[in-house]
């Protein structure tokens, strides 16, 4: 069980890293092309660099961005990574904190589950809508609904995660996810250790 979870979390992190790297690389391509486009002989001499082959870069970066956001929040963002207003949460008694965690878990779970069907019906019309520029890359079959579908996955996964969090808090209390600034500190330490110059 533990191995499967670890393997799964590595795989989802890998996807996120790929999305990030793709976005980063595409930006660099876009700037390079913008720059070489001024020298029109380059496009003629090296057809691969002709600027009109790169109309997709902007929208592709946007596609990567929304997928990073929703893939990320579904799979790799932890409770402590979120912007949270936690003054009250960290200062109440453990028993109250437990109920705080249960209530917020249930609220998020119920609201997101309830919105799955209505959201999908709002996306329905997008099955007809073409992307602005991604045909060049993916062909005409990719419609906007395909791009937006990551949001539905996000709704399902996050609803399950918060449902689970509520159940877990009910059984075991909510003391496990306190101290998140301390964890930031540890991570920063690690980063600096790995970064030590040779």
């Amino acid at each position: 069980m533990g191995t499967i979870t670890r393997w799964f979390s590595r795989a989802t992190e890998f996807v996120a890293a790929i999305l990030m790297a793709a976005m980063f690389a595409t930006f660099i391509i876009q700037i390079t092309i913008r720059y070489t486009a001024r020298l029109s002989w380059i496009g003629e001499a090296v057809p691969f660099l002709a600027p009109d082959r790169y109309g997709w870069t902007l929208e592709f970066c946007l596609l990567m961005w929304v997928w990073i956001v929703f893939w990320g929040n579904a799979f790799i963002v932890r409770q402590r990574d979120h912007v949270t207003f936690d003054i009250l949460y960290t200062h109440v008694a453990p028993n109250v904190r437990k109920w705080f965690a249960i209530i917020s878990g249930v609220a998020v779970c119920v609201a997101l589950l309830a919105s799955i069907e209505p959201t999908w019906s709002r996306f329905a019309i997008l099955r007809l809508k073409s992307t602005a520029t991604l045909d060049q890359l993916f062909g005409p079959d990719l419609k906007m609904r395909g791009i937006y579908s990551i949001y539905i996955a996000f709704l399902v996964i996050v609803a399950l995660r918060y449902g689970w969090r509520a159940i877990n808090a009910y059984r075991n209390g909510a003391e496990a996810d306190l101290h998140h600034y301390a964890e930031i500190a540890e991570e920063t330490d690690e980063e600096f250790q790995t970064a030590d110059p040779k």
Partner: protein
């Protein structure tokens, strides 16, 4: 206020108050709003996706996060710090000055104050406490205060967010931040000198002047980064969003090939960590986009503009009033939330009153950055407390003089718009 809007606000405050992540609190609150007003709750997701998929300027956010992470991991911050010590370590309050100057330089590369404090801030606090000349509270306080400069000097994630909600040019906002950032740096150094003299802080051993050239050479490629960024944007090579990618790319080249301090594995971790923080920030931004939709359907900004115009306030009174409000909200709210959710409420009034939106934006961002060090909710205080284990109480006590001083600097920015607008005007801004 309609019933459904009241329900939305109540849900939002309740959920956020009990520790639900702000992004999910907004999402649930907007679902409650849509449900109570008889609209489809699917609108929330549609708005969120549409907003994120269209906002090209938002792409700067993940890229600046990547850039900051590379710099922290790839010893670039380290080298800059050693250069600063050589430069200003010799004066009274030496490491305090180093702290401010390092923030000024470092801020020319990272777009985020928290990255600044967690990265370079930790190293310098250790140095200051080890030197034995400063109390640990003072070291933490001046680090926190100077980290607020980070997002004032370009590049800046908060300014990107403001550009998003106000439709102003990121290029001019960035330019507008330079002089205010320098002003804040100067007043902080002045205060540091004053306190160091009065409290008789010991002096550091000065780095021999003959070492300075070597330190400079070592840090030079990193020092070039702000210049490259600004040339990229204002020399017409890149858009401000692309400049973020250039910053990250340059940092990567420096760290990986020039300083040889970044392994492939470390770069992979940076990508994962950057994706993680970008996703968390992106969801708050998305949530704010839905809230803005709700606020627009309730017609609130226009009602506020109308009410304020009826009150017949002058632009300056309005500016001061709004800034007091932001300062107060900054004590309890996150900067991202203020910029994305609260500030848009005032924009129609600004337009009506003829207040320049670049000026307003820079002032508002400075104000929100001050909010990062105002107790009880000051994220920089928390992060430094977490990284160094210096008690919050000690940090807060020592940060108060700096806080008051930054508020004075803010007042100057409000009263003298030229400080903000001088540079943008030099490059063609018509405000």
């Amino acid at each position: 206020m309609s019933f459904e809007f009241a329900a939305c606000i109540l849900t939002l405050f309740f959920l956020a108050g009990i520790g639900t992540p702000v992004a999910y609190s907004i999402l649930v609150a907007s679902i409650v709003y849509l449900f109570a007003s008889g609209q489809s709750i699917g609108i929330a997701g549609k708005q969120l996706m549409d907003g994120l998929y269209q906002s090209f300027i938002l792409l700067a956010v993940p890229l600046f996060i990547v850039a900051a992470n590379i710099m922290n991991a790839g010893t670039i911050s380290d080298r800059l710090l050693r250069f600063c010590i050589g430069l200003v370590g010799r004066f009274r309050g030496g490491l305090g000055h180093v702290n401010v100057v390092a923030s000024l330089i470092f801020s020319g590369m990272s777009g985020s104050a928290v990255a600044d404090a967690a990265g370079i801030g930790k190293i310098i606090i250790d140095m200051m406490t080890k030197s034995g000349h400063y109390t640990r509270g003072y070291a933490a306080a001046i680090t926190a205060a100077s980290a607020t400069i980070g997002p004032i000097i370009p590049p800046s994630i908060p300014m990107v967010l403001y550009a998003l909600v106000s439709n102003t040019s990121i290029g001019y906002l960035f330019l507008g931040g330079i002089l205010p950032g320098l002003l804040m740096g100067v007043v902080l150094m002045g205060m540091n000198y004053f306190i160091a003299s009065r409290r008789q802080f010991g002096m550091e051993d000065p780095v021999p002047l003959k070492d300075l050239p070597a330190l400079t050479v070592n840090a030079f490629p990193a020092l070039l980064m702000p210049a490259i960024l600004l040339y990229g944007i204002y020399g017409g090579v890149t858009t401000p969003t692309e400049a973020a990618a250039v910053a990250a790319f340059y940092a990567l080249l420096l760290a990986a090939f020039f300083y040889r301090a970044l392994s492939l594995k470390a770069f992979y971790r940076i990508l994962v960590e950057s994706a993680r923080s970008s996703a968390a920030v992106g969801l708050v931004i998305g949530g704010a986009l839905i809230l803005n939709f709700i606020v627009a359907s309730e017609n609130i900004p226009n009602m506020m503009a109308g009410a304020l115009l009826d009150l017949d306030v002058s632009p300056i009174v309005f500016l001061i009033g709004v800034n007091i409000l932001i300062l107060l909200l900054g004590c309890v709210l996150d900067a991202t939330t203020i910029i994305l959710v609260i500030i848009p409420l005032f924009l129609p009034t600004c337009r009506e009153l003829g207040i320049d939106l670049v000026h307003f934006g820079v002032v508002a961002v400075v104000n929100c950055m001050i909010g990062l060090i105002t107790p009880p909710y000051g994220i920089l205080l928390f992060v430094i407390n977490a990284v160094t284990h210096i008690p919050l109480g000690e940090i807060i006590r020592e940060v108060i003089p700096f806080l008051l001083l930054l508020i004075v600097a803010l007042l100057i920015l409000i009263l003298v718009p030229e400080v903000v607008l001088f540079l943008p005007r030099q490059l063609g801004y018509q405000g």
